[in-house]
Symmetry: C2
Subunit: 329 residues, 2 copies
DNA sequence: CTGAAAGCGCTAACAT
DNA sequence: ATGTTAGCGCTTTCAG
């Protein structure tokens, strides 16, 4: 085992003091004479000393690291979310360990196994897999985003139900008579399903059939396109789409145009998410914007409280959404 | 300092063996009798033992962590790149420490300061800041992506010059007479400038004026829109745009439409990057696609070799790009 | 096949 | 104001 080139000991020797003193200088702790401080600083510079973070972590029993467990970062919503979480955590002195599960339960479990082993001080999760027991019996501080995990893990979510209502009402106001919805398969433990619930209730209220096309998060773009193609074949009467996320909204519009529909004349589309990247690349999309940055900030706030041992009472927090008026509906 | 609940020692005590033996069972090392193995496993389960990663890191002097230093992950190119790097590193047993600098030199320096302190085994960088000396005198394994950092750090880049040629030739073939380019300000140490060089050389060859609008990476969308608005005011004759990235291409098309230009009839646009998200949200864009996944894989290969102490001879690697035929040019 | 002991680099009582 | 000493939890020579 090759050792670290220069350590506390060497600095101490060169400065003619003890390791303790060097450590104290390093951390500005206790009483030091200015002379000693200078001596030590000089020695540190001369040796180009770099304190070993891992040794400190071991002693302190905390790493100042937070794990982020999400399906992927290659998606407008998660890209913005993880970016924002990183930013907020940085400000509080924490660094981020990425744990993108790629929707692979094994991978998620592997991450957790390692993360629970003293690797991180806390966890922010939003992966799609269910039934991972490890979340249950641990006292690791955890906060979840847009995903129900287990009883005592607080969830930060946007007001999906209200968002669903906004979306569908927009389509109704615009005169749609045949509205179709896309969402995950029922059964995934996600507040996302509130969007579907809102859709179904409004359809019932207006005596319209509720038709949901189920689109799994992790299938390929080609497969998704195929499903949407089927949608237009099976339901040529469709004149309004409430997509559960902007990416699907975009794919649907592509397929719709291939089927000769003009948007918004023949077909109106409302998406969901309103992430930065989407707003840049697809500004014409009418969508329900989630307060992603605020969700990140809230999650970090909550997590920090947990990591500092405070008891938390707000089990779950819901944040307001907002209709972005594009030209597609 | 509160200690870890259950450690090797406790397992050893319960199993009636020494710490050494437990460690050996844990790592499948040396000769063990099946009986001992079983005993130890049983004790570990009974106590729900979790080995402390940090202690192991300290002893081994390696963390199996790789730092990723990029400007942001909230952008189609970097989102895909970091996602892919994470995926590749995971397969090789490494985890990723995020270090998004937000184009803030202080933040980048802070990350590096910490990362060099034994926190990571290697670094993959692609941040935009220059003149950070820390990269120079370190023997930390580093690989760079699309960014020149210092002499002995290998760079993975796509063939930007060829891409620039492809883009401009496409516009010329389509009959453009007044082609304008966007890029970073000159002076940033990026292979990206090869795109500009290709543009300028082709313009010269065709006796056309080379006009580049300089757009900094980290200004707001509004500021970018303002620059592009100026572009159409100052150069109403423009009939072709070679944007240095797809996001700018998208913004330019938005502004162009506001100026009453039809695309591609009045204005042809070619972008650069061709990231997953862009291809999904903006499939109609004609663009030069970088082999992002391959760049990630190559970078990780190289880094792994460096981390394993192998000498590397390929200082820099260039990967081929590809024209994606959309409808915008 | 197993154990005792030393040590990875740093910090913090406790003592002076 | 500074030094001595005992760990943080794990791995690995070395000895048996």
């Amino acid at each position: 085992m090759k050792k670290q080139a220069v350590k506390l000991e060497h600095v101490a020797a060169l400065a003619g003091v003890s390791k303790t003193t060097v450590s104290r200088v390093l951390n500005n702790r206790g009483y030091l004479s200015q002379k000693t401080i200078d001596k030590v600083h000089k020695a540190m510079e001369e040796l180009n000393y770099r304190p070993n973070v891992v040794a400190r972590q071991l002693y302190k029993q905390r790493t100042k690291l937070v794990g982020l467990v999400f399906p992927t970062v290659d998606n407008p919503f998660f890209a913005q979310l993880e970016s924002q979480l990183d930013k907020e955590l940085y400000l509080r002195g924490y660094r981020v360990l990425m744990g993108n599960s790629q929707n692979n339960p094994e991978r998620e479990a592997a991450y957790l196994r390692q993360l629970f082993n003293g690797q991180v001080d806390g966890l922010i999760v939003g992966a799609h897999n269910e039934g991972i027991e490890q979340y249950r019996d641990t006292k690791m501080p955890i906060v979840s985003i847009e995903r129900w995990v287990s009883r005592d893990i607080p969830v930060i979510a946007s007001d999906n139900y209200a968002g669903g209502v906004m979306a569908v009402e927009r389509l109704l106001e615009r005169g749609c008579k045949h509205i179709i919805h896309t969402n995950y398969p029922n059964g995934l433990p996600s507040p996302n399903l509130e969007r579907r619930r809102a859709y179904e209730e409004l359809m019932r209220k207006h005596n319209m059939p509720a038709i949901t096309y189920e689109v799994n998060f992790d299938i390929t773009t080609e497969e998704k396109l195929k499903i949407f193609d089927r949608l237009f074949t099976e339901h040529p009467e469709v004149d309004g789409i409430f997509a559960d996320n902007d990416t699907n909204a975009s794919l649907i519009m592509r397929v719709a145009r291939e089927h000769g529909r003009r948007i918004p004349e023949d077909l109106k589309v409302v998406g969901f998410d309103g992430a930065n990247i989407t707003q840049t690349l697809l500004p014409e999309l009418t969508t329900i914007k989630q307060p992603i940055d605020q969700m990140a900030a809230t999650a970090v706030d909550l997590l920090q409280q947990r990591m500092e041992g405070k008891e938390i009472h707000d089990k779950s927090i819901q944040l307001p959404v907002q209709l972005i008026e594009g030209t597609t509906a």
